[in-house]
């Protein structure tokens, strides 16, 4: 079945990307922030186009792509993220480059890549989609090409990205060798049909795949590119990296693991649990020592990835119900995390646009000079730490609760402990903002209205998810049940 109407929203997104490229080509002197607004409008159109798909019956494209509620969830998420990032970039990019069309176009393309990763039900498509996202990000990270850091970040990112892609591909090839197919359904059936026993090719293959996608979501020890890339990238792209890139990675992981690999859960769940443990611990411990805000956020987001991986481990350890509730909670957490991160970056961008300082100490006295931004930053950081009223509290608690099983209690406990460690460095940021007076000459200022409004809106979102997550939770629940519907549990009898 080749139903080309399934991806109308993505055509829109890519079309918008091309249009923006064309506009700048035709009219090179256009104010760069107009391009940002155009991108946001495009993303908005994309989002609106995605809405009719909510609750629609699953549409299958040749067995390689699937539009169901899960895909739609990531569609809306991607469109939202792109829209927010475009708005974030408006002021930031305005005077930093001579051409911005590619920047905004690539944002849209990257978002499309993310959606396709979520929609893929087949390894080749998943891989290509992943590369689509990655390529866009390589360029975006290095977009400030005369900025040594941006360039260095981009170099590291692409070299390691290529390296890990090779790993991923080798893993895929092994799985393909064992199962003779690359479609998730086929893999599940083939793995199930295997006559028991541990197959080294499967184990090594899965581990290589884990390395590949682990790199994408920056799970330790595959995370090392992340802090450097985050630090070097333009600020909005840092936000994009820590939201879209991770969300996409988890979309792929969820599809792949529930759709295919869960059949062989015994062979990877311990590794995923270990990966989760290492990731959250390393991320949080190293974050303590950071002085640069972007790096801090990078390590903190690595910690967050560790928490999210707990849900994946839980899927490996649990039954179909656990998988459904854990994926649902994970999707909820992703929304909360995304909203918090975007809010944080909206505020940081506003701050950076004024001071050009991205060190933690640069926030000194922000509560005096710009209390609203300080409040938004506080809210986001507290949301990361899982403190009440903010999204992180509800989502993290529900995520861990959904992931709890007797065998994984230790991991959940470790996650909780890590989340406590993380509070320390969030408080160190708070300390700069609230406990100290601003440096000499810093006076009160108003953030750009656009960023202020964006930050305020996202703050409301963070609060809403934190206080009353029911509606969002219901949505993620639908996405999760769509995911579970096409998962391996539907195909083969599992213990």
């Amino acid at each position: 079945m080749r139903d080309f109407t399934l991806f109308i929203p993505e055509y829109l997104a890519v079309g918008a990307a091309v249009a923006i490229l064309a506009v700048e080509l035709i009219w090179p002197r256009i104010r760069k922030d107009y391009l940002a607004y155009a991108t946001a409008a495009g993303a908005l159109g994309w989002l609106i186009a995605a809405i009719p798909y909510i609750g629609d019956s699953a549409g299958d494209f040749e067995g390689v792509l699937l539009t169901d509620d899960f895909t739609t969830y990531f569609r809306i998420l991607a469109a939202g993220i792109v829209m927010a990032i475009a708005l974030l970039s408006a002021h930031y990019m305005r005077n930093r480059t001579t051409t911005a069309g590619e920047y905004y176009g690539l944002l849209l393309v990257a978002g499309t890549g993310m959606v396709l990763m979520a929609a893929s039900r087949e390894l080749l498509t998943a891989y290509i989609s992943l590369e689509l996202l990655s390529f866009s990000l390589y360029i975006l990270v290095g977009y400030l090409k005369r900025d040594r850091l941006s360039n260095e970040a981009s170099l590291k990112y692409i070299l390691l990205g290529a390296f890990s892609s090779a790993m991923l591909l080798y893993g895929i090839s092994l799985i393909y060798g064992v199962t003779g197919t690359t479609s998730y359904e086929g893999i599940a059936e083939a793995l199930d049909a295997r006559a028991g026993g541990t197959d080294p090719a499967v184990v090594v293959g899965i581990m290589l795949i884990v390395a590949g996608v682990g790199f994408k979501v920056s799970a330790a020890p595959f995370h090392m590119w992340a802090p450097d890339a985050y630090q070097g990238a333009p600020l909005p792209i840092t936000a994009f990296l820590s939201t879209a890139s991770k969300a996409a990675g988890f979309a792929l992981i969820l599809r792949l693991f529930t759709g295919a690999l869960v059949v062989d859960a015994v062979e990877w769940r311990a590794a995923i649990a270990a990966l989760a443990a290492i990731t959250m611990t390393a991320g949080n411990l190293i974050a303590i020592q950071q002085t640069n805000l972007k790096r801090l956020v990078a390590y903190s987001s690595i910690g967050q990835v560790g928490y999210m991986l707990v849900a994946i481990a839980a899927i490996g350890y649990g039954n179909v119900d656990t998988a459904a509730s854990a994926s649902s909670a994970l999707l909820l957490h992703i929304v909360g995390y995304t909203a918090s991160t975007l809010a944080l970056f909206a505020a940081l961008t506003a701050h950076y646009n004024r001071t050009g300082d991205d060190s933690i100490a640069g926030l000194r006295g922000l509560a005096e000079t710009q209390p609203f931004l300080a409040l938004v930053i506080t809210a986001s950081l507290f949301s990361f730490a899982g403190l009440p009223f903010f999204a992180g509290f509800a989502t993290k608690l529900l995520l861990f609760q959904a992931s709890t099983s007797n065998g994984l209690l230790w991991l959940v406990g470790l996650a909780a402990a890590n989340s406590f460690v993380s509070l320390y460095y969030y408080l160190m940021v708070m300390r700069q903002m609230y406990l100290f007076d601003p440096p000499e000459g810093q006076t009160r200022f108003r953030p750009a209205p656009l960023l202020g409004a964006l930050a305020g809106l996202l703050l409301l979102g963070v609060l809403f998810i934190g206080i009353y997550p029911q509606p969002v939770f219901e949505a993620t629940d639908r996405a999760a049940s769509a995911l579970i519907e096409v998962s391996a549990w539907g195909l083969v009898p599992l213990p």
Binding site: T99, G105, L124, G142, G180, V204
Partner: protein
């Protein structure tokens, strides 16, 4: 039998030139070894009787990629002088260790796995028609995505490498 002997000769040669890529003292040598290695693997595809992919290998890798690499080497002015590359990194020995471990693992996997089908038999010739049908019908979607991907890479390379006024 001849095929086998020939195969072994090629296999050894590929390993040798591939080792050359990573061990060569100068970058330009590595590049040349890489061309040879890629060509060798292309030959392997011929052994597998899949000429289409061998062609792709020769064209894209042997042609486009290596030219690109050579170009880059010239642009970064290292190959031209033939200046010896500053030694390998300090972690080379550890890298060797890890690579050896990995190699052992991969070879182990290759040997120990009970592959389905008939791995002991001869490779089956795959018709270009099958490939074409599969690629444009079943794999139509990734094909289109790849189109976008190549466009992105293209634009990206231009954006990144483009010389601007103040460069």
């Amino acid at each position: 039998m001849t095929t086998e002997i020939l195969w072994w000769i090629f296999a050894v040669a590929i390993v040798a030139v591939s080792a050359g890529v990573v061990f060569a003292r100068t970058v330009i040598h590595s590049a040349i070894f890489l061309i040879l290695s890629l060509a060798g693997v292309g030959a392997m595809y011929l052994f597998l009787t899949i000429e289409f992919i061998a062609l792709v290998q020769f064209l894209i890798y042997g042609g486009a990629v290596t030219v690109l690499i050579l170009l880059a080497l010239m642009l970064t002015r290292m190959g031209v002088a033939g200046r010896p590359e500053p030694t390998t990194g300090v972690q080379a020995p550890f890298g060797a260790l890890v690579a050896a471990g990995l190699m052992a693992t991969l070879i182990g996997v290759a040997v120990a796995t009970a592959w389905p089908g008939d791995p002991g038999g001869n490779a089956v010739a795959v018709s270009i028609k099958t490939i074409g049908e599969q690629m444009f019908q079943h794999y139509g979607a990734p094909f289109m995505i790849t189109a976008a991907l190549l466009l992105v890479a293209f634009i990206g390379a231009i954006v990144i490498a483009r010389q601007e006024d103040d460069d």
